[in-house]
């Protein structure tokens, strides 16, 4: 009885696995995860809204930036266009929360784009060549880890100025170490594997082995780090806003929550509710999606 079942299982599995690359299998596994796909689409909506609101649709920029003192502290759920009311300057809180996604997304994107090439380069060279290269990279990493990341970010933003690129750069400086370590470890292991030996025997040079053969195997770490980087950047941005070091003059979630600090005493919950809600949904989706990526791409953890 159980034997036939196993045979059927085996047949199904064979049909399922045949002719598919590990990457395609992982994507298929990811697609089967309903929650992951749901959060993926929610994240897509955020990205889409960011792209759309770059242009001034429905006068969203005026609603978010222009002062309108007569119309201040409109309560929440009063009308559809002012769903979350208005803040102390009469600016539309809903519009500001939507535009706040933009800064967070761009900060995450830019810091990721700076961080990932650095991490890949240093991690792969350290792990592949070992020896002196490895010692130097590990030394740099341990120095950066030994200083609290928050302190580096705050000091850099304070000395260089509170501009958008500098904040992204500061996030990247502290963020690359974790990824570089993981990639270094993966390269360390992969160096000994047969497929690397095979590639070398076939006459592939180091560059080709690193980028064509080993790096694709560590790619899920990169994707995962890229996704989770948004989480840490958004949380850090709120912190920076509280300290007073976030990007000036634009609505960000951190700035909104920071402003709500004084408004809560007078029970004006508009800024707090809108920013928290938008940020919370975004972070939950990122976390779920990140988990799903890790589960789908890491075959060792499949059963956990």
């Amino acid at each position: 009885m159980s034997n036939t079942n196993e045979l059927i299982d085996f047949k199904e599995k064979q049909d399922y696995y045949e002719g598919k690359s590990p990457f395609a299998l992982s994507i298929a596994r990811l697609k089967k995860n309903k929650w992951a796909m749901f959060s993926f689409w929610v994240l897509c909506i955020y990205v889409l809204s960011t792209i759309v609101t770059t242009y001034n649709v429905f006068g969203i920029h005026e609603a978010a930036y222009d002062f309108n003192i007569k119309n201040r502290y409109v309560p929440m759920f009063n009308s559809i266009s002012e769903l979350f009311g208005t803040d102390t300057f009469g600016r539309n809180v809903l519009a500001r929360a939507i535009l706040g996604a933009r800064i967070s997304l761009f900060l995450g994107l830019f810091s990721g784009l700076i961080m990932i090439p650095v991490a890949i380069l240093i991690g792969s060279i350290a792990g592949y060549y070992g020896g002196v290269m490895d010692d130097i990279s590990v030394y740099i990493m341990s120095v950066i880890v030994a200083i609290p990341g928050m302190l580096i970010i705050m000091s850099l933003v304070q000395t260089l100025g509170r501009s958008f690129l500098i904040i992204a750069f500061a996030f990247a400086i502290t963020g690359w170490v974790g990824l570089a370590r993981v990639i270094r470890g993966a390269f360390f292991q992969a160096r000994e594997f047969e497929y690397v030996l095979a590639a070398r025997t076939l006459g592939a040079n180091d560059f080709r082995i690193i980028f064509k053969h080993i790096l694709p195997n560590t790619f899920h770490f990169v994707i995962l780090r890229f996704v989770l980087n948004f989480v840490s950047v958004i949380k850090m941005e709120v912190f920076l806003a509280y300290i007073g070091l976030s990007v000036i003059g634009v609505p960000t979630w951190g700035n909104m929550i920071n402003e709500s600090k004084t408004e809560l005493m007078a029970s004006h919950w508009q800024n707090m509710t809108a920013a928290t809600l938008f940020m919370f949904i975004f972070l939950v989706c990122l976390n779920i999606f990140g988990d799903a990526i890790r589960d789908a791409f890491d075959p060792k953890l499949k059963n956990v």
Binding site: I144, A146, Q158
Partner: protein
């Protein structure tokens, strides 16, 4: 063992040099000296001549290499002089602030680790059940909420509206506990999500190993397998994870310290960054680095003690 310790302590030297270099690059090369001098001068005497005078006095017009070596010397002798803003020796300032941070973070950390360890082992024991799923969902939600929001809500609702806790404040001695309860609760809420997930994964990874199957084949009950075999073996990654977090505790509480006006080291550090109080900054960075390297050393030694397969070599 002793050889290993000595070798590890020698590793400290280049790390301190590197940390000094990073600090030097940020504050002496990129900028900050002018602002620093500008800040310590009284309002009326903020002229170029005055700033040049002070630049000479603090040795900021010397060659970069000399300045760097001076910084290293200060870091090694742990003599940073006086705080420029508070006019108190930095050592006294640190001695005064570090215990307060410790009072805030160590009990909170202890509560949080015990709570998450209990929750995680329950989750791993009843894996796949409703309880497990509920805790997993809650921990994802907990990971996604910003600390600032939680602090604001806690202070607004629990402390201000319901009056359960004092809003903020600090006293010396044992009476400080009443100001610390709310920060402790918030700390646990913020970090319990991460830890439960990590511990649960560590436990579950362990439960797929061969010795678990052997134990089951021997006829041991699930409970004794879980708590006698798996939990003990999973303690190795858990222990590393916990010990490696300890150095970050002193810095991790910046938000709580500022919001609840607890005079701790995070608060000191943020103020130092804003006022360009370089002596205090140097001291805090040095303190943190030593703390960090010391605890990584302890982790490695503990690791070898707990797991006999690992050799110290």
């Amino acid at each position: 063992m002793i050889n290993y310790l000595i070798r590890r302590l020698l590793h400290l030297v280049p790390i301190i040099l590197g940390v000094a270099l990073v600090f030097f690059l940020i504050f002496n090369v990129i900028g900050g000296q002018e602002k620093f001098l500008y800040n310590i001068l009284p309002k009326k005497s903020r002229t170029v001549e005055q700033i040049d005078f002070y630049k000479h006095k603090y040795g900021l017009d010397r060659p970069m290499v000399v300045q760097y070596l001076d910084l290293v010397k200060q870091m090694v002798t742990f003599d940073f002089g006086r705080s420029e803003v508070r006019k108190i020796p930095v050592k006294t300032l640190l001695m005064r602030h570090v215990p307060n941070s410790a009072k805030l973070t160590f009990p909170a950390f202890f509560f949080e680790i015990s709570i998450s360890l209990i929750l995680a082992s329950l989750c791993a024991f009843y894996r796949g059940s409703k309880f497990d799923r509920l805790i997993t969902v809650l921990s994802v939600l907990g990971m996604s909420i910003s600390m600032l929001v939680l602090i604001l809500l806690g202070q607004q609702i629990l402390a201000y509206k319901w009056g359960l806790f004092p809003i903020s404040g600090w006293v010396k001695g044992i009476g400080a506990i009443k100001y610390l309860i709310l920060p402790w609760i918030l700390w646990v809420l913020v970090s319990v999500g991460y830890d439960v997930r990590f511990f649960r994964t560590a436990l579950l990874e362990e439960s797929h190993k061969d010795y678990v199957r052997t134990a089951k084949a021997k006829g041991l009950s699930d409970k004794s397998i879980m708590f006698k075999h798996i939990l003990r073996n999973a303690l190795i990654p858990i222990l590393t994870y916990v010990v490696i977090q300890i150095p970050f505790l002193l810095m991790g509480s910046i938000l709580l310290e500022r919001f609840f006006s607890i005079p701790g080291i995070g608060d000191l550090m943020v103020n130092a960054i804003f006022n360009y109080d370089l002596p205090v900054l140097k001291a805090t960075i040095m303190f943190f680095t030593l703390f960090f390297v010391g605890f990584t050393l302890i982790t490695d030694v503990l690791y070898a003690l707990v797991d006999p397969r690992i050799r110290l070599s």
